[in-house]
Symmetry: none
Subunit: 204 residues, 4 copies
């Protein structure tokens, strides 16, 4: 990929994250093109479908989250890393609105799309670069990170015996959506997480 193309790709992703964040996943692709300072055709060259764009944003965010989690798992204090990470993810997600909102819609659409594409749409086949790719794989990696952090917390005795990585993931999902749709400010977020953390420590 040429340098200017890579630059534009990044600008489009940034613009899309902003715009989707401001207006929800229904925002028009053209608005994104304008914000990114490119022509609309350029957006579609990089992300042949609005869905692809959404998926690429998610992919980028998840990748970042996974990396941060792996760092914490390696370097952080076992006793607290899980809680630090939980807080970090919720905070980050609250700043990246859409992505979380898109999670459901996005994955459903992708499923439908995959099921439907019986090779009929030749134009799409030609394009088949399929842009940003496989956010679902990244979701899996995120869960792996949580398992690791739970294991470390268990060693340190800072998490209840009955708590699994999946449980933490579910609470995390809830907290992210809550922060987002509940429009929690920092104080509310802090209080809600405090309750959840107390539960994670004492559960079972």
């Amino acid at each position: 990929m040429r340098a200017d193309a890579r630059r534009n790709r990044a600008r489009i992703l940034d613009a899309a994250e902003e715009i989707f964040g401001e207006r929800g996943p229904g925002a028009s692709t053209e608005a994104i093109a304008i914000r990114a300072g490119v022509a609309i055709g350029t957006v579609f060259r990089h992300f042949p479908t609005k869905e692809d764009l959404l998926a690429a944003i998610m992919k980028r965010l998840l990748t970042e989250l996974v990396e941060h989690g792996e760092t914490l798992a390696a370097d952080g204090t076992g006793a607290t890393a899980l809680y630090e990470y939980f807080g970090y993810v919720v905070e980050r997600a609250a700043g990246a609105r859409t992505v979380v909102g898109a999670l459901r819609a996005g994955s459903e659409e992708l499923t439908a799309r995959t099921a439907a594409s019986s090779g009929v749409d030749q134009a799409a086949d030609d394009r088949s670069k399929r842009a940003g790719g496989d956010p679902l794989g990244a979701v899996g990696e995120l869960h792996g990170v949580l398992e690791t952090l739970v294991a470390k917390a268990r060693e340190a005795g800072t998490v209840g015996d009955g708590v699994t990585g999946r449980d933490v993931g579910d609470l995390l999902t809830a907290a992210c959506h809550g922060a987002l749709y509940g429009e929690w400010d920092e104080e509310r977020r802090g209080r809600a997480l405090a309750v959840m953390f107390a539960g994670l420590r004492s559960a079972r």
Copy 2:
């Protein structure tokens, strides 16, 4: 309002809840009309705007939730009523996708719309009020119910000292969205709530 008109109103609300549940808030009003077995004009006669329809669905759900909460507060055991109610709301919301999904979209759209047309179209505003609306009042009532239930639980010593009604409301929001977008089955929902409940009991 004539009897058949009232019947239509109900059928439209039911259909809308189904359709929005299946396809998200982006579903077309015409699809709802078809599902309800009425002409599209009839939908717009009852709900002058798509937003009004969304709001009316929410209103109906919230009203039901508030009523159930008031019953529990009056009749139930103070020690457990809060937790019973929390579980009930999450379960109910998990079955009514839409509503939760619509919450955000609805409020955002309304905001945008309001910002743009600063009260110019007074007639439309009036119609809107008439139609089904004001879910925000109902949200307030819901919070009232939670305060009551927390107070009762505090008397019974089944909730942590530092926990407020607003905290419970925030956790509830999170749990509802989590159940919905996380597509939790009953087991997962049970486990996630167990952790939250443990937190509510032990917090502070």
Copy 3:
């Protein structure tokens, strides 16, 4: 269907036949709407897809051709009806350009479309009026008419023994396309058909 809707449907078909005739099947749907004097949404309400529009035109033409053929078979002179009909069809087709052009593209697209629609596209499912419908059935009927006319001509001894209805259909296809793409004027058309008719009389 309401009277005004039926009227519009007919106007759209007329306009489409003209426009496609002038500019080929690539002509824009908007041009058709303008020519018909309706909004573009109206065209799509009647014919949800460009393909549906093309198919409806074909259907209309084929139906007319079949009717004319049946009349000739019933009333005309057995000895000449086949040739009269052949001439009539070619002349008519030459005036209705696209239709013939659309024949191939149309039927292919329809096939692809049918193969692809795995019930994924809900919007389309809702609409499922599927507008003008099944030109292919009409094609079958046309062949039936040709068989009849050949049989009558055989009785009258005006067609070669080895000639089948399908052969006549193939020559007819060739003649229609030739007239169209060769841009034959009346004289050329007359000469070309004369040769074909001589062949049909003497073949085998």
Copy 4:
């Protein structure tokens, strides 16, 4: 022209013939570039316009047909050369979809284009001439070949008195289109041509 440039030109023509054959003249230039294994810019360097590309394909086919016809006229048996050639052309055209399909689209577009830009973009016109073009000249040569073959057949008494070269050309056009759009297999093609040949022998 450099050797690699000449090689590219040929690869593009081959790819275009394939792609247009598969998808019709509406196929995108980019698809052709991909199939040819070159960048899209390269396609436009060789053929400044899509039309030029279409014209170049036709030119190449017609040139081949004319050469074959001249050989037959020189070496073949006068009595049968006309019919052999007719069969050859139809068979060849049936394999080269595009070309025949492009014939109409091409000439129409050219007409429209010419009418609109009355010689304004002189540079483009020049480029166009340079590129591959003038299939119409080649069409003329093809007719010349047919005249010759008809003359030979007349000497041998194997063609009706009233039949002219132009008549044969018209039948040929019809047969090519019929073979293509009728999707005749070899048997049907054989039977249809047999009838036409019988007509050519006995006409007038």
